[in-house]
């Protein structure tokens, strides 16, 4: 604006609007890619879910046919139920991560090494985690199987049992997820104000009361992030299911994302429309959480938190 008022000889449209336009120009590449790779495919999925299509031949419009079939599909409800179990149990990563973070938040010789060791599972690939745990559970030679056999006289093959398999996979998933939450809380704990802790001590606060009334409120941003990444992690759980059981035994460990992949892209699938319908349902479920999170973030910002 100040440029405009000095009345330079070349008052082009660009110079006048430069400051106003710059932020949008910086946004363009990001928005463009977000549109091409996220927003447009979302609508394409909606569109595709109305067709019966094998990915090669002609598309056949079936309207809501895929959804009618989906709501009459046992495998869909199994996947949905497993997704709910994932969501609930995966949340354990948040308190567990907090516990370990508090435990590690001390100044002892070599603490950095301990922290890195605890963080390690998050660094290794999910595929490796899945393999390690499937060997751990493996019937006849797995450590876990042997332990149970030693304790009860009868081994339990977790991954072959339709009632236990999902819990077995979630446990494997919790291992790296706890590490992730731990690191979020560790950085959060660094920002805790020592003066407040001091003041609370003077007022004779300690133990749980100290944690609940003094530390946790200061960890709010870290807790929020931990919850967000855990919810999203639980809903998009795929790698572990694929590596450890391939959805089995007889589909009892499927989750929605895996079922979608199986229907649309796996060796026995290629039902693009049906896969897209599953994707749409998963998207709507995720939308509930994501809009909740976004609403909270916007709200916090407004309050200036």
């Amino acid at each position: 604006m100040s440029v405009a008022s000095t009345g330079t000889p070349r008052r082009t449209w660009w110079r006048e609007n430069q400051q106003r336009l710059t932020p949008y120009l910086f946004l363009v590449p990001g928005v463009l890619f977000f549109m091409v790779y996220v927003i447009i495919p979302v609508f394409q999925s909606f569109w595709l879910s109305g067709f019966d299509w094998d990915g090669l031949g002609p598309k056949e419009w079936v309207g809501l046919g895929n959804y009618t079939e989906l709501f009459d599909d046992e495998a869909f409800y199994t996947s949905l139920k497993n997704n709910v179990i994932w969501l609930v149990l995966y949340m354990l990563a948040v308190p567990a991560g907090l516990g370990i973070a508090i435990f590690l938040n001390q100044t002892v010789r070599g603490i950095r090494i301990y922290k890195s060791l605890f963080f390690f599972p998050f660094v290794i690939s999910q595929v490796v985690v899945g393999l390690i745990f499937s060997w751990f559970y493996a019937p006849n030679f797995g450590l876990f199987y042997r332990l149970i056999e030693w304790a009860t006289g009868h081994g339990v093959a977790i991954l072959a049992d339709p009632n236990l398999v999902t819990y077995g996979i979630i446990l494997a998933g919790l291992w790296p997820q706890i590490a992730y939450c731990m690191i979020l809380f560790l950085t959060g704990l660094n920002a805790v104000d020592p003066e407040q802790v001091e003041a609370a001590r003077l007022d004779a606060a300690k133990g749980w009361k100290m944690l609940w009334y003094v530390i946790l409120p200061q960890l709010r941003p870290a807790t929020f992030m931990a919850v967000v990444v855990t919810v999203i992690g639980a809903l998009r759980s795929f790698d572990l299911v694929s590596i450890m059981t391939d959805g089995g035994p007889f589909g009892s460990s499927r989750v929605l994302s895996f079922y979608m992949y199986e229907q649309a892209l796996s060796e026995y699938g290629y039902r693009m429309g049906y896969g897209a319908a599953i994707a749409v349902i998963l998207f709507l479920i995720m939308m509930v959480f994501i809009s909740g999170f976004i609403w909270k973030m916007v709200d916090d910002e407004r309050k200036g938190l």
Partner: protein, 411 residues
């Protein structure tokens, strides 16, 4: 992902090679072969290039799992001149969507209908042939001779004898029938044989072809036979968490006696330390004596994509692969059976046994459940078979589910 990258790298390599060998014509060939199979096929490719110095074959190998996905991409995007695939219902989607070239002329010119009589039906759709079969192998029961000898048991030829043996094995703490169904398909082998022995080839083909409801009493009869193994616990526990190789390990250790498998099991058993003398092979025992014996023998085949740039030379290569000489060479190396009936069979007891078994089959040769049935039906079916072996009480639910799938898949 890796296979897509390697595919595009290879595509670049092919382009580069075309430029370098301007005077030579190139046939690009994609496949998913294990090292031994590739070794055998390489001999055939070398012989072909020697006989046709003006043609060069550019081969690109993929891993098995990646290939099944990539083939759909490269057939539409950048098709090679020759691809490995499977016959029967597995090639149907590509044939019906016009992705494969009709090669009936290759069959006609070389008189292959007679030489490949056993595979003609599985290579034919709409009265035309869509590829050339180059290898197949038998399925049956492989057993541990030492375990049989230790317990003083005879190799059974009927289902009742087999079940009687199972009781003895059970008492001795040995799994009568082992399997590892983590990848699902091993369960289909058991189903195929029980159905082929109970109802016969024609019924099995009608069932996998979607013409018979899964709730039919004849299907229930198959599961009733199967239950004779499941209910007393003759099948390896926890098979749902085992890979098929894990179950082979149980057989090597003498913890399991029998395994319904394809001939590729022999290589795994030998690697595990079993000798040719300790591995036995028998045809699946007779259940209904009135049903003519039929077998499972999945066939490997080669096809020309419709978008091939050099279909003329690709056809030449296919005709070459069909010759008895080429079939003898490749199958001698990989330990499988040539499909051309004039080819020589390798001097290996299991290959010989397979040749004997298949060439005398009166009932018919099935391809295997996941090739005879369309892919979607196969998946749901195999899940049902696995579930039945874990939860036999759920049979009615399973059959209802399969029937629902049948009505949808075949419509």
């Amino acid at each position: 992902m890796r296979s897509i990258i390697s595919a595009s790298i290879s595509a670049l390599a092919v382009i580069a090679a075309t430029a370098a060998f301007g005077q030579q014509r190139v046939v690009s060939y994609y496949g998913d072969m294990d090292p031994t199979v590739l070794e055998g096929m390489q001999k055939v490719m070398d012989a072909f290039q020697e006989a046709n110095p003006d043609i060069k074959i550019e081969f690109q190998n993929f891993d098995h799992e990646g290939y099944k996905t990539s083939i759909r991409n490269f057939l539409t995007a950048e098709p090679p001149d020759v691809v490995n695939w499977y016959s029967g219902n597995r090639m149907a989607p590509f044939v019906n969507s016009g992705q494969f070239l009709d090669v009936s002329d290759v069959w006609e010119e070389n008189g292959l209908k007679d030489a490949f009589s056993s595979a003609l039906a599985s290579m034919t759709i709409d009265g035309k042939q869509w590829g050339i079969p180059w290898s197949y192998y038998q399925w049956g029961i492989y057993y541990n001779r030492d375990v049989y000898n230790e317990l003083g048991l005879e190799v059974p030829s009927t289902w009742d004898e087999f079940l009687a043996n199972c009781e003895v094995f059970k008492k001795a703490g040995v799994d009568c029938l082992t399997t590892g169904t983590k990848a699902l398909w091993p369960a289909a082998g058991i189903f195929d044989y029980l159905d082929l022995r109970t109802n016969g080839y024609d019924f099995h083909m009608a069932l996998t072809g979607g013409e018979v409801p899964w709730t039919d009493d004849r299907v229930k009869a198959v599961f009733a036979e199967w239950d004779k193994l499941v209910a007393p616990g003759y099948i390896t526990a926890n098979h749902a968490a085992l890979d098929w190789q894990d179950a082979a390990a149980l057989m090597v250790q003498g913890k399991a006696a029998n395994y319904v498998m394809g001939n590729f099991l022999v290589a795994v058993l030998k690697e595990g330390g079993m000798s040719e003398e300790s591995i036995g092979f028998m045809p699946f025992p007779t259940i209904n004596p009135d049903v003519p014996r039929a077998e499972d023998a999945p066939t490997e085949s080669m096809h020309i994509p419709a978008g091939a740039k050099n279909p003329e030379d690709a056809k030449k290569f296919l005709a070459f692969v069909a010759t008895p000489e080429a079939q003898s060479v490749v199958n001698a190396t990989i330990g499988q059976l040539p499909v051309n009936k004039n080819a020589e069979v390798a001097d290996d007891p299991f290959v010989q046994a397979g040749f004997e078994l298949l060439s005398t089959t009166p009932g018919g040769i099935a391809q295997f459940f996941d090739r005879d049935a369309p892919a979607e039906m196969a998946k749901i079916g195999m899940e049902g078979f696995q579930q039945f072996m874990v939860q036999p009480g759920q049979l009615d639910n399973i059959l209802d589910r399969l029937e629902k799938a049948r009505q949808r898949v075949y419509k």
